[in-house]
């Protein structure tokens, strides 16, 4: 088996890499996500979370969903991760844990319980929904133009609703952050 693999590695490295490449970001994603939960130093946890975002983006790209992968990188690494960093640094940096010691007591058990319950509920819905009964479509790689036409055509109502929602959230955030000139 290993000999076979090594032989393909030399004869057709592209194919060899293609077969095994998918596993690497998946592994990094899982490890980084676990580290983000376990680490007590908030900044380290954030950096691990960022790494898991990046790994997820690469996984999408490796699976042929280029557009989703790039958007994942742009939005989650470029915006969400930086937002978390800002939130941590602008609140109380002196209370940041300096070491990465693990939690003790009932906390981890409760967290694990909550996590598994959520997973169970999600899986339950997933297997009872009509989507589960459809057979899997083949590897889809929709061109960007097609995604754009779909968003501006069939799904334009949803797009506008999301736009309105985000605008409302932005205005709300601005109002919250605005200084009250009267006080």
């Amino acid at each position: 088996m290993i000999c076979e693999s090594l032989k393909t590695c030399f004869d057709d490295p592209g194919k060899f890499l293609g077969e095994w490449f998918v596993l690497l970001p998946a592994l990094v994603l899982l490890l980084a996500a676990a580290a983000a939960v376990v680490l007590r130093n908030l900044i380290h946890a954030t950096l691990c979370l960022t790494l898991s975002f990046i790994a997820l983006g690469i996984l999408f790209i490796a699976l042929g969903a280029e557009f989703v992968g790039f958007v994942q990188l742009l939005v989650y690494v470029g915006a969400v991760a930086m937002l978390i960093v800002f939130a941590i640094l602008l609140t109380r940096p002196e209370r940041l844990a300096k070491s990465d010691t693990a939690l003790s007591g009932l906390g981890p058990a409760g967290g694990a319980l909550a996590g598994f319950v959520t997973l169970g509920v999600l899986l339950g819905f997933l297997f009872t929904s009509p989507i589960a009964k459809k057979s899997l479509p083949g590897p889809a790689s929709a061109p960007v133009a097609e995604i754009g036409h779909a968003l501006m055509g069939d799904y334009k109502a949803a797009l506008i609703v999301v736009g309105v929602l985000l605008t409302a959230a932005l205005v709300g955030a601005a109002v919250l952050a605005m200084e009250d000139k009267n006080s």
Partner: protein, 396 residues
């Protein structure tokens, strides 16, 4: 000339043919071909970086009426070699209270996006290392990694100047990324594709026999190009947007606690990133590898591309030599209150130009659509200040 145009590709193919005749398997050749391309691209940009590091100091010196580096080699051209040896032999200092792992990783993480974005730029006719359908998106998505690296550097140094510098850098990069991306979208919208090579192809040909179809020649394109240029200056932390490293207030911002080769890596990544964004600017608005006049098409396309990139990089140095540094609140107000609305105006203007038929009438319509917001915003900005002619007491 035809031979010169194809020279880089033909050289690579000839080398691979020789290897193929020596019995190297087909699959291995494909990998070798990729390695050759990667090596060439990185080599060229490292060479440009070395040249730039000495040219920048030369140009600054010329503007400021002094000589600049002129000791190492002819005209000081070996200065980068001397700098490199100096950087390599310097002591690598890590503060005792620093977060050692993150402090070490930051320069590495900084280098990754700077090199990755080089993959999608069309360097010449049929010369794109990776032909991506959504190349523009890739460019900005990967570029987002720079912010993470700067934050890592600033925070891990455990120094208040570093953290302040990193915070400034992130605030600035997030703010200027929005007008940057929106002004890039105008070009993608008119070309009807996110692929850099399609955008360059859309700018080919000449109007009236001599006017190139570059996007910068249209009112919306000119506006978007200026916005993109300003955004590019801010994204690469260059003067007048070099607040994150403002020497007079923050020592060196996130670079304060870096020395030796780690500092050199940051420096290198910053300059390569600057060249990459200049390349993107050239691709989007200055016609990429297209020649500016019909009879100049005999000159190989890749010479045009790198010529334009060097010209844009030169203007960045010129700006650095000319303009003073902005203040933080001015910097952010400028991004949100002027650049962002103007980029929306350029967006609308591009749409008007397209739907009015792309002719002379469309040209004037898009000029009006972009001109009115410019006047309104510009007047609202300047009406608060009374600008009067300055006289310098001791210089006349």
């Amino acid at each position: 000339m035809e031979l010169l145009e194809r020279a880089p590709v033909e050289l690579k193919n000839a080398f691979l043919r020789v290897l193929g005749s020596l019995g190297v398997p087909e699959g291995m050749l494909a990998i070798l071909s990729a390695v050759l391309i990667i090596g060439t691209v990185i080599g060229v940009f490292l060479g440009l970086f070395a040249l730039m590091s000495v040219m920048e100091r030369k140009i600054l010196a010329r503007v400021q009426n002094r000589y600049g580096p002129n000791r190492a080699g002819p005209f000081g051209l070996f200065q980068p070699v001397a700098d490199g040896i100096k950087m390599l032999t310097k002591e690598d200092l890590v503060p005792r209270a620093a977060d050692k792992v993150v402090h070490f990783l930051a320069p590495v993480v900084m280098m990754v996006p700077a090199l990755l974005v080089l993959a999608i730029l069309p360097y010449g006719r049929d010369m794109v290392p990776v032909e991506l359908e959504s190349g523009i998106l890739f460019f900005f998505a990967v570029g987002a990694g720079t912010e993470v690296a700067i934050f890592m550097a600033g925070w891990a140094s455990n120094n208040k100047y570093s953290v302040l510098g990193a915070m400034r850098a992130i605030a600035q990069m997030i703010s200027y990324e929005i007008p940057l991306v929106i002004s890039a979208v105008t070009a993608a919208m008119i070309a009807g594709s996110l692929s850099p090579s399609v955008i360059v192809a859309a700018q080919g040909g000449f109007a009236a026999g001599f006017l190139p179809h570059w996007f910068v020649t249209t009112p919306w394109g000119f506006t978007a190009a200026l916005l993109f240029y300003i955004g590019a200056l801010a994204e690469s932390n260059r003067s007048p947007f070099d607040l994150p490293e403002g020497e007079s207030e923050l020592v060196a911002g996130h670079l304060t606690e870096y020395s030796g080769f780690k500092y050199a890596t940051f420096f290198m990544a910053e300059y390569i990133g600057m060249f990459a964004i200049c390349g993107m600017f050239v691709t989007l608005f200055l016609g990429g590898w297209q020649a500016p006049l019909p009879f100049l098409t005999v000159v190989p396309s890749w010479i045009w591309f790198f010529g334009k990139v060097c010209f844009v990089a030169f203007t960045m140095v010129w700006v650095r030599a000319t303009l003073p540094r902005l203040r933080v609140d001015h910097l952010l107000a400028f991004a949100w209150k002027f650049l962002l609305p103007m980029s929306f105006a350029a967006f609308l203007s591009a749409a008007c130009w397209h739907y009015a038929g792309r002719g002379p009438a469309a040209w004037f319509l898009s000029l009006v659509v972009v001109g009115i917001p410019y006047l309104v915003l510009g007047l609202s900005f300047t009406s608060r200040f009374s600008v009067s002619r300055r006289t310098y007491l001791f210089s006349e």
